[in-house]
Symmetry: C2
Subunit: 387 residues, 2 copies
């Protein structure tokens, strides 16, 4: 790479953020951490800052500001706090790449700010696109930035469509491991506990996404994300269960040819790809050896048992603010499941109830999304309390 790319990591202490730091440390001549942002894990932020020496850190939870300042005193690292500081940081001219790796709806405003600054955005936060895909993709185009997916599935698709004309793409086939509850029926799902849901067979990820993988909502959100990234309607985005997580996704072209991207289930690979794109750098990570993998298999996704996937398709077909409702209800319901306040199948019931009661807005603006999100969270909370 001709010069070092300076990265702002939003969510540096989370699962993606920590792996991004491993990537940055593996390629000191190509990538550097310029800004580290975390919500409230001040101690890890401090440790990361001392090691990586970014220009700036931001702690969103302002009560921890003084703790961070104190710990980094004398290092020359600028410390800021609060949500506004995040929005300012991603727009700074020193930042070449914004890695959006915060969890959930919290990613929306920073991603929008990065888009409006024309940044190269490495997008791990799928919820931003789920909630406000039309707005974000419009702003990316308007300000001349780019959006490189970090999700392994979308990274796979992005790689498979390289060098191909958009009109040649017939279908996207998202692969899904099926999660820890693959093959279970609804009766069995009633009794699963958070600890079981957190045991993902192939991927080591954060809590929220791991539960979403168990419910297949993660795949549903990915369908919506794929719609915005690759400009295809719901009926041309399919989900296939591939329990081995070796084929990360596929594209079928108009002539019937399919391209697939394969690799070990290791998020450092798509993170690296998104940060260094269009360069491919040789890293120290373990490599896929096809002779060591067992048979690769495919099964249909069970949308009846795993209702969240059907609900996500429904939200995408309805459009407007419905994916925002879906996402907010899901975030609240997942937290309630993690706290053992609702059962696993109740997650879907709460989302469905919110979708059926929400006011539909066909062409929402940013304010509409914010209001829809607020209303839905309140509604979902109320449903949980009475469930």
């Amino acid at each position: 790479m001709s010069q070092v790319r300076r990265v702002a990591i939003l969510g540096s202490t989370g699962s993606i953020g920590r792996q991004a730091i491993e990537v940055i440390e593996a390629f000191p001549e190509a990538i550097a951490a310029d800004v580290l942002v975390t919500h409230s894990n001040a101690e890890l932020l401090i440790e990361q800052a001392k090691r990586l020496r970014p220009r700036q850190v931001v702690i969103v939870h302002a009560a921890l500001y003084h703790r961070v300042c104190e710990a980094l005193a004398g290092t020359g690292i600028r410390v800021a706090a609060g949500q506004e500081a995040v929005l300012a940081a991603v727009q700074q001219p020193q930042v070449d790449v914004v890695l959006a790796a915060m969890v959930g709806y919290a990613g929306l405003l920073p991603v929008l700010a990065a888009a409006q600054a024309g940044k190269h955005i490495a997008l791990a936060n799928k919820e931003a696109l789920v909630v406000a895909g039309a707005l974000i993709t419009t702003e990316v185009r308007r300000y001349g930035g780019c959006l490189i997916p970090v999700d392994s599935e979308h990274s796979a698709i992005f790689q498979c469509v390289a060098g191909e004309a958009h009109q040649s793409v017939r279908r996207i086939i998202l692969t899904a491991s099926g999660g820890p509850f693959r093959g279970m029926n609804i009766d069995q799902l009633r009794h699963v506990r958070p600890q079981q849901a957190l045991q993902h067979p192939n991927w080591k990820m954060g809590e929220k996404i791991t539960i979403d993988s168990a419910t297949l909502m993660n795949k549903g959100l990915e369908v919506i994300e794929a719609h915005w990234l690759f400009g295809l309607p719901a009926e041309r985005i399919e989900v296939v269960i591939h329990p081995q997580s070796i084929i990360h996704s596929m594209v079928e072209f108009s002539d019937g040819s399919l391209k697939a991207q394969l690799g070990l289930p290791d998020m450092r690979l798509p993170i690296q790809y998104a940060l260094t794109y269009p360069q491919r750098l040789s890293g120290p990570w373990p490599r896929l050896d096809l002779l060591q993998v067992g048979p690769l298999t495919f099964e249909p996704a069970d949308r009846n048992t795993f209702r969240n996937l059907a609900l996500a398709y429904e939200a995408l077909r309805l459009g407007g603010n419905m994916p925002c409702v879906l996402n907010a209800a899901n975030e609240v319901a997942v937290q309630a499941f993690l706290k053992e306040r609702i059962s696993f199948p109740t997650i879907s019931r709460i989302i469905e109830q919110c979708m059926s009661e929400a006011d539909f807005i066909g062409q929402p603006g940013l304010e509409d999304y914010i209001e829809t999100d607020r209303w839905t969270r309140q509604k979902a909370q109320a449903l949980i309390e009475t469930s």
Copy 2:
């Protein structure tokens, strides 16, 4: 496609040629047969000409010239005969694309002529590149033509490297079905008969290539072909047995990411791709349904039992005229095996003997290839007679 592409099909009555005609008939607005060339199957040539109405036909075996003239009298289709007429036909300005689908060494001079006329060459005849890859690729570049592979493996690789930088390619992984004798040991191979070798598990192909698939020489020739098409040394071209023939080949990139191209084992797909490239057209062919395929598996290739593969790697490493020796000895030995004059394992012994006795020429010109081919055929024939 903006205008109809006019194709010269060299080998129109062979397996690839006949499937190419199916492709042409499926896309009348995109592709047309301009010239049909066959060696000696006059009756099928006449039938094809009456149906497709090409501008010209060429029958290589000149004794059949009058028969073809007579049958096509009054159609307005020009008839020519002999090898020289083939070379003239591929260079005609009316020809946009040359589909090189003749068998074996016979493809060399026509492919060279097409290259020197700057044509778009759809290359099914791998032997031309095996014998004289340096010469052909140099001429393609010099005269501004292009070489699009038809072999399903090379078509797969060609598709996987689209949009990628050459320096990002770490390895090519050619998949092989393993043929009908996969898993056999050398004692078992001593007793196999031509009829068994002609039963390919997945692909319907001509006789010569089907025997080459059974010996793994086909894969060895593909390794050499891949070297010339994609500019990688032998040690970065690997062979993996994939008995299902669904993944047609793969590319590993420098960052550890792999891309694969998948499809049904149907040659019409890569033929169509090579004829219409860079367009992908939606055809009437059956499509791959991942939910209908069984598990996809991978095994190492057994180069000890299937010696031809090891010999091909050796010929590529030695370079110069050695691949030409390999190819000529193989063509003669395969014919002898088909006539039950030698055993299956003797094919390799004859090739090895020829390679060890041939004069090595490091930088051969066209005359050297012709002489090497002539010497080797004579040598191989002599070895067969004394075996």
